[in-house]
């Protein structure tokens, strides 16, 4: 019933607006289209509005810089993406600033004046050609560079001794499995899910016994996915129930997890967690975050790489995450050696 109360308030506001305008005598305006005075006011306002848009753009570009992801990509492949991104973004911003200016300036400059004659200008092959050819040339460049980058990222065929990890998504958590000694994952299917075998691994497959499921470390509350620096990691993605998406923004990496099929994603981590914590962007961002958290009485936090779910997957989609730690290779190998294989677990 309270909803009705709100609706009545809205209706009263609507009626009030009209009555107010009527009271001011503004409903009796004689001429139909805009007057010279209105053209003038609105013309100037368009110029002011352009100032607002520019101000907002500049404010956002400067003021929100610290909130962005660290400029340093945490993967070698992400580096290519960053270059392409900066190039494209730079180009877009230049075009945006120029074209918006031209639009608003013309609108202002040619605001209507009684008795002025507009210029009958209906066509020009030259102009049409210019603004067909220029975007075509610029876009061709972007397309070629973009496709080159795309191929660089997606092609993982030439990597030597990659680390193979399975990421397994389910409502609303991530599980993972390292391929173990043979670097081959044992078969799996949801039909094998039973008891502790939460990933549905087929233990009759000989490749499965040395696979290492990711477990919660002693003294920790959540799982931490360890990755080695400077070694290619190939992720095999599966999903147990609905679509999920493995999104690792710091590595510039994302791939959907699709039930019934295995998708693939690969990158080479290039910055360890410890190194990234010392990165200037990261430090600035976390100083800001911790200051805000302090105001709210929350404990301070440190930077960590994250795996987020980025495809709507249900009510708790907003809290489906996995912490990622990038170690030096030696540290990683040491860590991996302490983890139990399926053979050891199932003994």
């Amino acid at each position: 019933m309270k909803a009705l109360f709100y609706i009545i308030i809205f209706v009263i506001i609507i009626v009030g607006i009209w009555q107010f305008v009527k009271l001011l005598g503004l409903t009796k305006v004689e001429n139909q289209t805009a007057t010279e005075k209105e053209n003038n006011i609105n013309g100037w306002l368009l110029l002011v509005f352009m100032g607002f848009v520019y101000g907002l753009m500049i404010y956002s570009l400067i003021g929100y810089k610290d909130t962005l992801l660290p400029q340093l990509s945490a993967s070698a492949e992400g580096h290519h993406i960053d270059i392409l991104f900066k190039l494209t973004m730079g180009l877009i911003l230049v075009v945006q600033f120029i074209i918006q200016f031209v639009l608003f300036f013309f609108a202002f400059k040619y605001r209507g004046i009684n008795n002025r004659k507009a210029y009958f200008f209906a066509d020009s092959h030259k102009l049409e050609t210019i603004w067909t050819v220029i975007p075509t040339v610029v876009l061709s460049g972007l397309i070629i560079y973009g496709l080159w980058t795309w191929n660089e990222i997606m092609d993982s065929s030439d990597s030597e001794n990659p680390l193979i990890i399975e990421l397994y998504a389910k409502q609303f958590q991530w599980e993972a499995r390292y391929a173990g000694q043979d670097n081959e994952l044992g078969n799996a299917n949801v039909r094998f899910i039973k008891g502790v075998n939460t990933m549905g691994v087929d233990f009759s497959d000989k490749n499965a016994s040395d696979d290492i499921p990711l477990a919660v470390a002693e003294g920790k509350f959540v799982k931490e996915l360890h990755l080695p620096k400077d070694r290619k990691v190939i992720f095999k993605l599966r999903s147990q129930d609905v679509l999920h998406s493995a999104f690792m923004p710091h590595f510039r990496a994302q791939m959907n997890c699709v039930p019934g099929m295995v998708t693939e994603l690969a990158f080479t981590p290039s910055v360890t967690t410890a190194e990234m914590r010392l990165n200037d962007d990261t430090k600035a961002k976390f100083e800001h975050i911790n200051a805000l958290r302090k105001e709210k009485g929350k404990e301070a936090v440190e930077f960590d790489y994250l795996l987020l779910c980025n495809k709507i997957c249900g009510a708790s989609h907003y809290n489906m995450q996995l912490k990622i730690i990038v170690d030096e290779q030696a540290d990683f190998n040491k860590w991996l050696a302490t983890q139990k294989t399926f053979a050891q677990i199932n003994k």
């Binding site: 392409l84 210029y119 200008f121 209906a122 973009g146 191929n151 791939m255």
Partner: protein, 589 residues
């Protein structure tokens, strides 16, 4: 027609009307109501995003149990974003926009008495009405409305065990959309047939106003792509209700293995986006047509590059059917296929750029009449450019990886097709209101409406890009689970404040619209001094549009400020109606 009068009852005139002008008004009013509901939903979920830890009595008032204590549940949050998207994309910007203006303008601007089939037209509206009622009914059911996102990707949308809205809520969504598609196909076929067959004498295709070109091409895209969505929806209904496995395979949910085997959710995505991408052009092309017309009329200049405009409309339409894969770069599709879709997608920027430059050149050296319709049209060009440019990032497969499904995408498509199409639609309402209701809308309220709306639109959607670049995924009920997003709270509050300003500004529009219908100043026959045929009809609507003969057309629609060889305006007027024959010494453009 004028010589024999049907006896019209209230029901045949206002309810089951076959007159395109009345049907157009029915579409508009229904569209506005759906827009108010969808817009109000966005206010509610913006409150949740900006203040995830606070409670609001308005949330409890409208959401009931799902908003107990003034905080909405995650399920309800997802329902709100799902239904907001569905209503806006389909019910407001497809039916509300195309339905209103195609119906109103196609017969009036091509010189026809009515649509080719008034009866089909009536059925089309009432199917739309029925689908609206079903969609709204789904808001009131026990398990809540559909909440798998407006793209309803299975398996989430197929499994009630996976999310509460995929029970009865999703069934109603699918039924509603199936009826909606039938409605829009009937409408589209009618538009195509009418444009092709019922043009008056002299109205060659190359003399049509750009509005008609836009509506015509939109209808063709609709006929090509909507049936694919219908088949996608039907297969989903099969999977949900009859145990088939078109989209489902190897699923373990709620503690048990389901029997589905061999299907692929990716198939659904292909089918969905084969409609879904053309759909954004179904939304934006009519707005482009409307804006082209309004910019020309109010600049008192011909639209620049009329033929280039037609060619770009057609090439956009063609390209729109071969780019759907850019929504699926990270689904695991073959990288080579990704390359092809990147190529075709970025090509669309070319006709879009041509159109933008042509609009800007149209206002150059004009004598711009800054009425509300014109302001919204200038706003359209501005937001279309701002939103369109980031499409170059999203369409590039390599760059899409890291912004896919983040708020960057939300900012992009809201500016380029949401705000722009709404601006086009509102511009159209202000411009053709005198034609629809015989009265003028209030100017001062119109100006206020525009300025508040324009500021709010940029205030909400420009900062949103940065939230996306910070890595925040869309459809997150709350981002408090991630400390790395803590510093986005300020931006989110700012956007919500602008959103509320924008929402309240629409109350001004509603006041202006509904009161002007009966209380507005009486309009003259041709208030904007435009050249097109609709302004030659009497102010009071009559069945059949023209009292006597249908006028004959002698020229294109854009003879504004045309001068003779001495540099004087023809007959001292800065516009020449399409019905005026070519004069001695005048060259037809």
């Amino acid at each position: 027609m004028s010589d024999h009068h049907h006896k019209e009852t209230f029901v045949t005139k206002y309810v089951f009307s076959q007159d395109h002008k009345m049907i157009s008004k029915q579409y508009l009013i229904t569209g506005i109501i759906m827009g108010v509901i969808a817009g109000f939903m966005s206010m509610l979920f913006r409150l949740q995003i900006a203040y995830p830890e606070e409670s609001f009595s308005i949330i409890e008032a409208f959401l009931g149990r799902a908003g107990e204590g003034g905080v909405m549940t995650p399920d309800m949050y997802l329902s709100l974003v799902t239904i907001h998207g569905t209503l806006m994309v389909f019910f407001v910007l497809t039916a509300g926009l195309s339905g209103t203006f195609s119906n109103l303008l196609i017969p009036l601007q091509i010189g026809a008495r009515d649509m080719a089939s008034g009866f089909l037209n009536m059925i089309s509206y009432w199917l739309f009405f029925l689908s609206s009622v079903i969609m709204l009914a789904s808001l009131f059911i026990e398990t809540g409305p559909a909440n798998a996102g407006w793209t309803i990707y299975p398996p989430l949308s197929a499994l009630p065990q996976a999310i509460s809205g995929s029970g009865l809520g999703m069934t109603l969504w699918l039924v509603s959309m199936a009826i909606f598609i039938a409605s829009s196909l009937l409408g589209a076929l009618n538009y195509i047939v009418t444009v092709l067959n019922l043009r008056t004498i002299g109205m060659k295709m190359t003399r049509l106003p750009l509005t008609i070109w836009a509506f015509f091409v939109t209808a063709i895209i609709g006929v090509v792509s909507f049936p694919v969505l219908l088949s996608a929806a039907l297969l989903l209904i099969f999977d949900r209700s009859f145990g088939t496995s078109f989209y489902l395979s190897d699923i373990y949910v709620a503690g048990e293995v389901l029997h589905y085997k061999g299907g692929s959710p990716i198939l659904f995505e292909h089918l969905f986006w084969f409609l879904g991408h053309p759909e954004v052009y179904i939304v934006i092309l009519p707005a482009m047509g409307i804006v082209s017309e309004i910019l020309a009329v109010n600049s008192r200049k011909p639209i620049f590059g009329y033929r280039a405009m037609i060619i770009s409309i057609i090439s956009i339409a063609f390209l729109s059917t071969i780019v759907w894969g850019h929504h699926m770069f990270v689904t695991g599709m073959n990288p080579f296929l990704g390359s092809v879709f990147t190529f075709t997608t970025l090509l669309i920027a070319i006709p879009s750029a041509v159109k933008s430059f042509n609009w800007i050149t149209t206002i150059w050296k004009g004598n711009i009449q800054m009425n509300t319709a014109m302001l919204f049209s200038i706003g359209f060009v501005s937001t279309f450019i701002t939103g369109g440019l980031t499409g170059i990032i999203l369409g590039d497969s390599a760059l899409d990886i890291n912004v896919h499904d983040t708020y960057f995408v939300i900012a992009h498509f809201h500016l380029v097709m949401g705000v722009s199409a709404i601006f086009g639609m509102i511009a159209g309402v202000y411009h053709w209101f005198p034609k629809m209701y015989g009265r003028m809308m209030n100017k001062d309220l119109g100006y206020l409406h525009f300025w508040l709306t324009a500021i709010a639109a940029y205030g909400v959607f420009f900062p949103m890009h940065f939230v996306g670049l910070a890595g925040l995924p869309r459809r997150y009920y709350s981002n408090t689970a991630f400390p790395i997003f803590d510093d986005l709270a300020d931006i989110n509050v700012l956007m919500t404040i602008f959103a509320i300003i924008g929402g309240l500004a629409q109350l001004i529009f509603l006041a202006n619209f509904f009161f002007s219908i009966s209380k507005g100043k009486k309009a003259s026959k041709n208030p904007w001094r435009a050249t097109t045929l609709e302004w030659t009809t009497p102010v009071e609507h009559i069945h059949g549009n023209w009292p006597g003969e249908i006028p004959t057309v002698h020229r294109w629609a854009y003879d504004y400020s045309k001068t003779n060889e001495n540099g004087e305006l023809w007959e001292g007027e800065d516009f020449t109606l399409q019905t005026v024959p070519i004069r001695d010494g005048e060259e037809e453009f």
